[in-house]
């Protein structure tokens, strides 16, 4: 029988000397006992866990040493979370761990798998320890199970959130790469657009262009849409807005490369073409831009 010190709730049973009575310990006390057991048997339980991980063929992307190192941190964080019930620290650890192992190719099912394995290993050790006292075992499990489930949840969610963050970051990078704003002369920017423009990409394009105008102090921008097959109403409006917003920053926009289909779309929609400066192709657009900027391009000799 564990000795209680001060203020735990008594179930109401009377104590008789020499008779062992079932007392209900406070949950926090059970948890303390549990944590103490897990700490005492740390080495052995951790080893058991690593064996199970290898048997189940999880974390194959990592070396034995790496698995051991991570297993140690996870085990300690796990026990600490059980003890303190401070799940923010565990969440932060889970995200940190995910940040490190995702690039190594570790999958979600592996992370969830190893946490559940640890849960099993620890549970088995509890079964072994309290096998003679079924009622106590139940109480210990009452304290252990909710906490263990919450831990598994926290780690899994942390991992998935980190993955989603990486995906978003990559998508952003891809989008930026696909719409470069290029300076070809002082005060002259070119924005070559290729592929499908959806409203989100159109918006991102506009923001990038406006930032580029300010950074490069551009006075003329040539937006070339030769590589754009089709445009719907929303995107056409976006284009007009881009032209208008650029003007507010003191830059003139020349749109080049409108395909017959897009020209048709714009006319059908009723876009005020007076607002848009268009030229047939990119070459023509650059030539006009140079004129606007006061350049005169002269051929001095034949190509060598």
């Amino acid at each position: 029988m564990s000795k209680r010190e001060g203020g735990s709730k008594d179930s109401g049973s009377r104590s008789h000397p020499g008779v062992e009575l079932v007392r209900s310990e406070a949950p926090s006390e059970l948890l303390r006992e549990l944590v103490a057991h897990l700490r005492q048997n740390r080495t052995q339980l951790r080893e058991e866990w690593v064996v199970r991980i290898t048997e189940t063929r999880l974390l194959t992307a990592m070396t034995k040493e790496e698995i051991f190192a991570e297993a140690t941190s996870v085990y300690d964080s796990y026990v600490e979370a059980l003890e303190t019930e401070a799940f923010e620290a565990l969440q932060a650890y889970a995200r940190n761990l995910s940040e490190r192992i995702i690039p190594r190719g570790v999958e979600t099912h592996e992370v969830v798998g190893i946490v559940l394995l640890l849960r099993d290993v620890l549970a088995r050790s509890l079964f072994a320890k309290y096998q003679t006292d079924f009622k106590k075992l139940n109480r210990i499990l009452d304290a252990y199970e909710p906490a263990a489930n919450r831990i598994a949840n926290t780690v899994a969610v942390g991992f998935v959130q980190e993955r989603e963050r990486v995906i978003r970051q990559q998508q952003e990078a891809i989008r930026e790469l696909s719409t470069p704003v290029l300076q070809v002369r002082e005060r002259l920017l070119i924005l070559p657009i290729i592929g499908v423009i959806d409203p989100q990409r159109a918006r991102q394009l506009t923001e990038q262009l406006l930032r580029g105008i300010r950074t490069n102090r551009a006075k003329v921008v040539v937006i070339d849409i030769t590589g754009v097959a089709a445009m719907d109403l929303t995107v056409a409006n976006n284009l007009v807005q881009t032209v208008e917003a650029s003007r507010l920053l003191g830059a003139t926009v020349i749109v080049t490369g409108l395909s017959p289909e897009i020209a048709q779309t714009l006319v059908t929609i009723g876009v005020d073409l007076g607002k848009m400066n268009t030229v047939g192709d990119l070459q023509g657009g650059i030539e006009q831009a140079e004129r606007l900027l006061g350049y005169k391009v002269e051929k001095l000799a034949e190509p060598r």
Binding site: T206, E207, L210, R211, I213, R214, R217, K219, Q241, T242, E244, A245, S246, R247, L248, L249, G250, A251
Partner: protein, 120 residues
């Protein structure tokens, strides 16, 4: 809120502060035109670099200021509209049509110098 108006030769430069109330804007509309008359200015540059929002009232006021000043034979140039503000404005359909714009004070002055050279 007092908006500082500086004189640079024949050009007046008004620097708008961040949060101008409707009353401030109304006050300004009168004030700027009076200054143009007093100094016989040929142009006004309104610097809105510090404004991080531009609502329809502010936008309309700027256009009215430009119109009133044009009636005195002077030009108005709005400078310093931030990319985010420009984006928000065009989405609301506030295009400041008919009013000259430039990237910043330097560009605004360059524009006016060019314009005066052409018309003198």
């Amino acid at each position: 809120m007092e908006v500082p108006i500086l004189k640079q030769g024949a050009v007046l430069i008004a620097t708008f502060q961040a949060a101008l109330s409707d009353a401030d804007l109304n006050h300004l509309r009168m004030g700027l035109v009076q200054q143009v008359v007093k100094f016989r200015s040929r142009a006004v540059i309104v610097d809105v670099t510090a404004m991080d929002v531009m609502d329809s009232f502010a936008s309309r006021t700027l256009r009215e200021i430009a119109h009133m000043i044009r009636l005195r034979g002077a030009e108005t140039v709005i400078v310093g509209i931030q990319p985010e503000v420009a984006f928000a404005m065009v989405q609301l359909g506030l295009t400041l049509e008919g009013v000259a714009t430039a990237l910043d004070l330097e560009e605004g002055l360059a524009y006016l110098t060019q314009k005066f050279k052409n018309t003198d």
